[in-house]
């Protein structure tokens, strides 16, 4: 039985499913396709928690000592 949401844990950074537009602008910024993003498994607990589907991209917002907030994008795979 899980008693709390994974996202509430202080060691787990914020994960959110990206919208089409947002994704397009990120891919455009780096001039890459979706396959060149880092990957994350769909059975990863946090992916199951936010309910992202295979093929979607999650945006991870991490706290960084030097940069304040750092963004990271991962493609959900099987």
């Amino acid at each position: 039985m899980r008693k709390f949401s994974l996202l509430d844990h202080e060691l787990i950074p914020k994960h959110e499913i990206m919208s089409e537009d947002e994704l397009k602008s990120v891919l455009n910024q780096y001039k890459i396709g979706k396959e060149q993003l880092p990957k994350i498994k769909d059975d990863d607990p946090i992916i199951q928690e936010i309910g992202a589907q295979v093929g979607e991209v999650v945006k991870i917002t991490r706290n960084s000592q030097t940069a304040g907030e750092a963004y990271y994008y991962r493609l959900v795979i099987m």
């Binding site: 780096y30 001039k31 890459i32 396709g33 060149q36 880092p38 960084s64 030097t66 750092a70 963004y71």
Partner: protein, 880 residues
């Protein structure tokens, strides 16, 4: 950034299999039937070992298979039809395991069919998970061997013994290769799969050869000796043996020779086939050359350090390189390297002749190859190389014209790469400018020792001479020493003052030294300073005097503002900053050193704050100049005062010695009291520890405290007039702990952080009682190095010292392996122009390098103080 195709190509799979006799015949261009190589005219014999269809090595001949000439023809395989089957030694182990797990009667795998299905499924699933199925297959063999009666034909299984690598004895009689092959042939395909083999590409019977592939001649070229005699390769020799025996075998068998002779010949054929594959099989005498040298056959070519993999593919030798011992030369720049004449004369740089350098290059050629800045080779425009010698130099010099290339010798200012192994970081290979010097060692400025981790106790270093203009440009922009003063590891200087540089400037800037004009000019002689500032004071007879801080300020640039605590800082609770009474707060205003003392924190490698600021604000060239200047100044500074150390510097007064003695006795007594309390069971255990652990800890604490106190007593007797203290406090070399151990008390010797306990039953040495917990019985050394250790102390000290040595040996190998794995994993990652980190396929690893996209060498440690400093520099106002 260039667009990367979205679907990268990768190797999907690699499949290994056995060569089937059919495949061997199919890839063969000819059968080889005669053991002869060349006829009397030196022409290769048809269907011999040097048949022209197997490829060509002699210039002028054409390959009969592909039509290409020597050098272009890759060579083609032939084959030898073996008269009788022969075991391939390489599969010796597999054959043995198979014989033991297959029924001798019906050739079925000795497992029940359910068991087989289960194993097959296990192999499948491990493969799916991307693991090697080796473990499962080993289990199959293990299980099958246990079966005593065949579950299919009820035949009783016999033990198979192996005597020589190719002799399998079953029930006292030797299995002939034919028998083995027959057994393997009738193993059903589905059983082969359970054994982890793919019957389509590796049938077990293929491990017993019936036809032997003959490697192309290009693999075993013959060499023509000076006498005109041909000398064949070891492999060819071996093939000759095989063919001869094969023929004799055939003849004898056709003639109906007795079984005994046939068996002998068969054995001989097996021997030659075995040594053809591997000449170092245990139990088989190695085949030898006529001279007695063992032949180098197939396995020997691949195996070991000098083998194809480690010797020829992973490791290659390099041209245009030199190696010799390094020694220090503080008078050359950090960007330079001193190169011995002998090396400079041998190594060359190719220069293309143009109308503008024609005269100069003619001069080089005209000097020949024996007078130093000469030339070793001239390459004509038709590509012909001509060696420059004493005899042809004048003649050749006149012939030199535009379009030629001259390989001139090294001269001052040429860029080379300099390297010391192990090359653990990028600063292990840096570009230096050459300075050609007499004698036989590479000369290195001691300030560049830290990045190379070099010292001069016999270290050797390598030099590589760059051969193209592009490489020299790249090296001088990216790899030159001055570009690597700041290390990307921590963003600070990795090059800087060491040892004498630090003590030198410490002695120079510490007090209000009075320096006369002559002395001041002597100190600054090697730097570009031509004018002295206003003198700080005048002597009684009106002579102008300067102080050390003023002298040091001369090599600082205008506009440099800096303040920081020095290494000698006492770390008071509240720092008084500018009002520091210990002269331990360095203040530099507008390139003028106001107060403080220069030590490791200012100019030391890894720490130097001034050096750091110099490079970040004035550029790498100014930084290098500063290093050159301060090292020269420091060395003259330390020569002015002098710095020496001897046994008498460890002397402390009698009273202090008495104090130390009393203190140690007192400590021993209190350890005694602790032990008494422990034995009387009055001692209370600390939380989470046993009573034994508690007393050990308390004793260690007590003795540690005692050692520190003796150190303090000794330290009070040894002031800054003692050169060891100067070195320790300024950070030049050594520590106060080293000094304590020399002068006062060596202290507790430890193994794995505990007092020494190993030795005899219940005691460390026979000098002590069993169960003695006292300080001296467990490695506390009361003596100092100066006073000398008593025998038991000496022994304990050796134990503790040995642990240190073992630790370093183990640590270096472990960290080396860790480093290797890290480098292998990360070597292809690259920071792109958009700031992202990507690997070769273009897959992003980090969206911004290090999350913040900051180059640590440019970041000024990313501390908020940087803002305060910049605001102060611009507005002149202090902000907080």
């Amino acid at each position: 950034m260039k667009e990367i195709p979205s679907i990268p190509k990768r190797v999907g799979a690699i499949k290994f299999g056995l060569l089937s006799p059919r495949e061997v015949r199919k890839m063969s261009v000819t059968a080889v039937i005669t053991a002869d190589t060349y006829d009397d005219d030196g022409y290769p014999i048809d269907m011999g070992l040097m048949d022209l269809r197997l490829g060509v090595i002699d210039p002028g001949l054409k390959c009969k298979t592909c039509g290409s000439r020597a050098g272009e023809c890759p060579g083609h395989f032939g084959h030898i039809e073996l008269v009788a089957p022969t075991i391939h030694v390489g599969f010796n182990r597999t054959i043995r395991k198979l014989l033991r797990s297959v029924c001798h009667n019906c050739s079925r795998l000795l497992l029940a069919s359910e068991k087989k299905a289960e194993f097959l499924q296990q192999i499948g699933s491990t493969k799916d998970m991307g693991h090697m199925p080796d473990d499962v297959i080993n289990d199959v063999f293990k299980e099958a061997r246990k079966t005593k009666v065949c579950p299919y034909c009820n035949a009783e299984q016999k033990e198979v013994k192996v005597e020589k690598p190719t002799d399998y004895i079953e029930d006292g009689h030797k299995l002939s290769p034919t028998e083995i092959r027959d057994r393997f042939e009738s193993i059903p395909d589905e059983d082969v799969r359970v054994l982890g083999m793919d019957p389509d590409s590796a049938r077990p019977e293929w491990m017993v050869l019936t036809v032997l592939p003959v490697p192309p001649v290009t693999v075993r070229p013959s060499i023509t000796l000076e006498s005109g005699q041909r000398s064949e390769d070891d492999l060819t020799h071996k093939l000759v043996d095989i063919i001869r025996i094969n023929q004799r075998f055939q003849e004898n068998r056709d003639a109906g020779a007795p079984q005994l002779i046939i068996e002998d010949l068969w054995e001989l054929l097996q021997y030659h086939a075995t040594t053809f594959f591997d000449n170092e099989v245990s139990g088989v005498p190695p085949a030898r050359h006529r001279s007695g040298r063992p032949l180098k056959t197939l396995t020997q070519r691949l195996k070991g350090k000098e083998g194809r993999f480690r010797g020829s593919l992973s490791g290659k030798r390099v041209n245009f390189s030199a190696r010799t011992v390094v020694s220090p030369d503080p008078n050359i720049s950090i960007n330079e390297v001193g190169v011995p004449f002998a090396i400079a004369k041998h190594m060359t740089i190719p220069v293309r002749v143009t109308s503008r350098n024609l005269e100069m290059l003619r001069m080089y050629v005209g000097r020949g190859n024996e007078v130093h800045p000469g030339a070793n080779y001239a390459i004509r425009d038709d590509g012909r190389r001509i060696r420059v010698t004493e005899l042809n130099k004048e003649e050749l010099a006149e012939k030199v014209e535009v379009g030629w290339t001259i390989e001139r010798q090294l001269i001052d200012g040429d860029i080379v790469l300099f390297n010391r192994q192990p090359s653990l970081h990028k600063m292990s290979i840096m570009a230096h400018r050459i300075k050609v010097l007499p004698f036989k060692t590479f000369r290195l400025n001691p300030a560049v020792c830290p990045p190379y981790n070099a010292d001069f106790d016999g270290d050797e270093m390598n030099m590589h001479v760059l051969q193209t203009e592009e490489s020299r440009a790249e090296a001088s922009i990216l790899m030159q020493v001055q570009e690597n003063i700041l290390s990307p590891r921590f963003g600070g200087p990795i090059i800087g003052g060491i040892h004498d540089h630090i003590s030198g400037l410490f002695l120079l800037t510490r007090n209000e030294n009075s320096i006369t004009k002559n002395a001041a000019l002597e100190l600054l002689r090697k730097s570009e300073v031509r004018e002295l500032p206003e003198p700080s004071s005048y002597s009684e007879d009106g002579e102008p005097l300067w102080n050390g801080k003023q002298i040091f300020s001369q090599i600082l640039p205008k506009g440099l503002h800096l303040e920081f605590p020095a290494q000698v800082c006492f770390k008071c609770e509240t720092c008084k900053k500018k009002d520091c009474e210990y002269n331990a707060y360095v203040v530099i205003e507008d390139g003028e050193m106001i107060q403080g003392t220069i030590d490791e924190q200012s100019i030391g490698a890894f720490k130097g704050k001034i050096l750091d600021k110099m490079v970040k604000e004035y550029g790498s060239e100014a930084g290098a100049q500063f290093v050159d200047d301060f090292t020269r100044l420091a060395i003259r500074g330390v020569m002015k005062t002098g710095l020496s150390f001897g046994i008498s510097d460890e002397d402390i007064p009698k009273t202090a010695k008495m104090q130390i003695g009393n203190l140690l006795n007192e400590a021993e007594a209190s350890v005694g009291r602790l032990i008494d309390a422990y034995e009387a069971k009055e001692l209370e255990a600390l939380p989470g520890r046993t009573l034994e652990e508690t007393i050990e800890m308390k004793i260690m604490q007590e003795l540690g405290k005692a050692r520190d106190q003796t150190g303090n007593i000794a330290g009070m007797q040894l002031g800054l007039e003692n050169s060891a203290v100067v070195m320790a406090k300024s950070g030049a070399r050594g520590s106060m702990l080293n000094l304590t151990q020399m002068a006062a008390c060596v202290g507790q010797q430890a193994v794995r952080g505990e007092r020494i306990r190993r030795g005899y039953a219940g005691r460390t040495l026979p000098h002590f009682d069993r169960g003695d917990l006292g300080a001296d019985a467990h490695g506390f050394v009361k003596a100092s190095y100066k006073s000398g250790l008593n025998p038991t102390e000496y022994f304990f000290h050796a134990i503790g010292g040995r642990e240190g040595l073992v630790d370093t040996a183990v640590r270096t190998s472990q960290s080396g392996y860790l480093q290797r794995r890290l480098v292998n994993a990360l070597q292809d990652l690259e920071v792109q122009y958009d700031g992202s980190v990507r690997e070769t396929r273009g897959v992003v690893v980090q969206f911004k390098y290090g999350e913040d996209g900051i180059d640590s060498t440019k970041s000024d440690y990313s501390k908020p103080e940087a803002i305060h400093r910049i605001v102060k520099m611009v507005t002149g106002k202090e902000v907080n």
